[in-house]
């Protein structure tokens, strides 16, 4: 508009500066942290992944050699991949199914909901601690609780589930599944969001409860299922403590619990191969990013959004 003269359209510099300073003043700690502790290290970690670099001496540029070695000449990498993928593919669906089933059961208007909810949530709050890993190690050891129970109930003398390479990973899957509580709480919150009148309308239409669950509850819950699946998958790829404690940091027996992060840790902080470990870290980042992107792309085929 011609009426507005140019000097009017903006407040003077001092006023604008004051506003900017306020904003950046409060953001400063995060901004510094982001640049120094995240952005900088991310860039330099990528650089390191292209070098040969240990605790001594300086980084030596070797181009893509680390990545080539990972792909073609590192059997432990492939073991770690296999272990990690097995863990992810088993623990995530198990957790989702448990969490959803219990949430649906709890959403039936039972008395004592808060108590059950607390009981089911507790394991996921403490499950990541060393104490629980220690406990798990005991429960599934040769003379552990599980075998005591099996022997008392069925007279079956079980093996040491932890030190048997063909079962050790599954004890960790079970430990993960045991911690379905926080997903359950998110499901519960999601179930509460489904308007009651939808069920009432469906009842009047003569839909059975099973049909209501399949045709109303599940579709309306898909955004929550999706969210939980993505978060659980990312978390599962990053699992570390339980495997470390149960296997004494070795990933054993015979690398059967060599989680990717555990292998990464060993390369970086036991063998001090910082360059190679950086490359391993970036491979993990790419894998996680790939699966996250894949889930988001798949979402439009099965996730139901209102708007």
């Amino acid at each position: 508009m011609s009426i507005a003269d140019a000097s009017n359209s903006k407040p003077p510099l001092s006023v604008r500066l004051r506003g900017q300073l306020g904003g950046y003043g409060f953001l400063l700690p995060w901004l510094l942290g982001f640049v120094v502790l995240t952005l900088g290290p991310a860039v330099s970690s990528f650089y390191l992944s292209l070098t040969d670099f240990g605790l001594m001496g300086s980084a030596k540029w070797i181009g893509a050699e680390n990545y080539v070695r990972i792909a073609s000449d590192d059997p432990r990498f492939w073991t770690a991949m296999k272990v990690t993928f097995t863990f992810v593919l088993l623990s995530v669906p198990l957790k989702l199914v448990f969490a959803l089933a219990i949430a649906v059961a709890l959403n039936k208007g039972l008395r004592g909901l808060t108590i059950f909810r607390a009981i089911f949530y507790l394991p996921s709050l403490i499950g990541g601690s060393v104490a629980i890993a220690v406990l798990w190690r005991q429960v599934f050891s040769g003379d552990g609780v599980l075998n005591q129970v099996l022997s008392a109930l069925f007279g079956y003398e079980g093996p040491s589930w932890i030190s048997n390479p063909s079962t050790s990973l599954y004890t960790l899957v079970l430990l993960a599944a045991w911690q379905f509580g926080s997903s359950m709480i998110i499901f519960l919150a999601g179930l509460r969001q489904i308007p009651t009148d939808m069920y009432e309308a469906a009842s009047i239409d003569g839909a059975s409860r099973r049909r209501q669950f399949i045709k109303i509850t599940l579709p309306l819950l898909t955004p929550v299922i999706f969210f939980n699946a993505v978060i659980l998958t990312i978390d599962a790829f990053k699992a570390f403590t339980s495997a470390f404690v149960v296997s004494d940091g070795s990933g054993g027996p015979i690398d059967s619990t060599l989680f990717y992060t555990l292998y990464l840790y060993q390369e970086a902080f036991t063998n001090f191969r910082f360059g190679y470990a950086s490359a391993l870290a970036w491979v993990l980042v790419v894998i996680i990013a790939f699966f996250t992107a894949l889930s988001f792309m798949s979402a439009k085929y099965w996730v139901h959004y209102d708007d």
């Binding site: 502790l37 060393v130 998110i186 009651t196 950086s278």
Partner: protein, 297 residues
């Protein structure tokens, strides 16, 4: 994602409308099932606690949860089972956890305030980057961070565990607070502006006093996660005098070589105890926090 302000109704109500339609039989069945699952889930924990009060020879003799002979012996053996007492390591853990809580609360609330309430160029851009860091695995920055702290001479001190928290490195908490701050009516800020208050005074006198629920949630989660953290202390703390309770427990596993399960389970129980107490005190806050953000460890 749900608005924090409406949360209590979303998670607290003890009954849902489709409740009455079940037959008493079906109801009883659901109860029985839930009780059974609860028992199986809690059994290992209960066993851990009860075994810690049993004499060593009783632990493996019975699966009963009630000690026939109640003794604190295992606690005595465990407490001084390493060259440094567990008490010392608990204090280390406490110091680190408290500092982390303070750091997170200050730095994350400042960032969340800037993102939700202040106008400045590039706000949207930085906010998007912040959300991006939520998704990013820490492994990508781990090694350079380690090398940097090594250069600072911070390895084998608590600095690498604590200092980053004063720079809002835990984007999760920023996100949690952003969600909450968005629920505080903007007219309150405007009333304060009319009252002559600047951004700092509005932050301190209006926003923060109204945010005690989210600050408490952030504090409790911060504390629990730091208390439980194993990876960072494992990397950065070398001397046993510096160890956290988690590191101590893990060292204890090696030291006892599983010969003294009683002591090990006693110390395990002790390391979980603070979390359990916080859980009992702040259960509602924790559950609401999870339900709002849908995020967890």
């Amino acid at each position: 994602m749900t608005d924090t302000a409406h949360l209590p109704s979303a998670v607290e109500a003890d009954s849902t409308p489709d409740g009455d339609k079940h037959s008493p039989m079906k109801r009883a069945l659901i109860y029985a099932l839930l009780t059974a699952v609860s028992f199986i889930m809690l059994y290992p924990l209960l066993w851990m606690v009860s075994s810690s009060f049993k004499p060593e020879n009783e632990i493996f003799a019975t699966t009963s949860l009630i000690p026939q002979e109640f003794t604190l012996d295992a606690y005595r053996r465990g407490w001084n089972g390493l060259s440094v007492s567990f008490g010392h390591m608990f204090l280390n853990s406490l110091l680190i956890s408290v500092l982390v809580v303070v750091g997170n609360l200050i730095s994350c609330s400042m960032a969340a305030y800037a993102f939700t309430r202040l106008q400045f160029k590039g706000r949207g851009f930085w906010f998007a980057l912040m959300l991006g860091t939520l998704m990013m695995p820490q492994h990508a920055v781990l090694i350079p961070q380690y090398l940097m702290f090594l250069k600072f001479g911070w390895v084998n001190t608590i600095m690498p565990l604590v200092v980053p928290k004063f720079f809002a490195i835990d984007a999760f908490f920023i996100f949690l607070m952003v969600q909450f701050f968005r629920g505080i009516p903007r007219e309150l800020d405007e009333a304060a502006i009319m009252d002559g208050a600047g951004p700092l005074r509005i932050f301190l006198k209006v926003i923060l006093p109204l945010s005690t629920p989210v600050m408490a949630t952030a504090a409790v989660f911060s504390f629990i996660w730091t208390w439980d953290d194993f990876f960072a202390p494992l990397i950065y703390l070398n001397d046993i005098e510096k160890y956290t309770a988690q590191l101590g427990l893990r060292t204890f596993v090696d030291a006892t070589a599983q010969s003294d399960w009683g002591a090990l389970l006693a110390m395990s129980t002790l390391t979980v105890l603070p979390i359990f107490i916080l859980f009992l005190l702040f259960q509602r806050l924790l559950i609401e926090g999870i339900a709002t953000t849908g995020m967890k460890r």
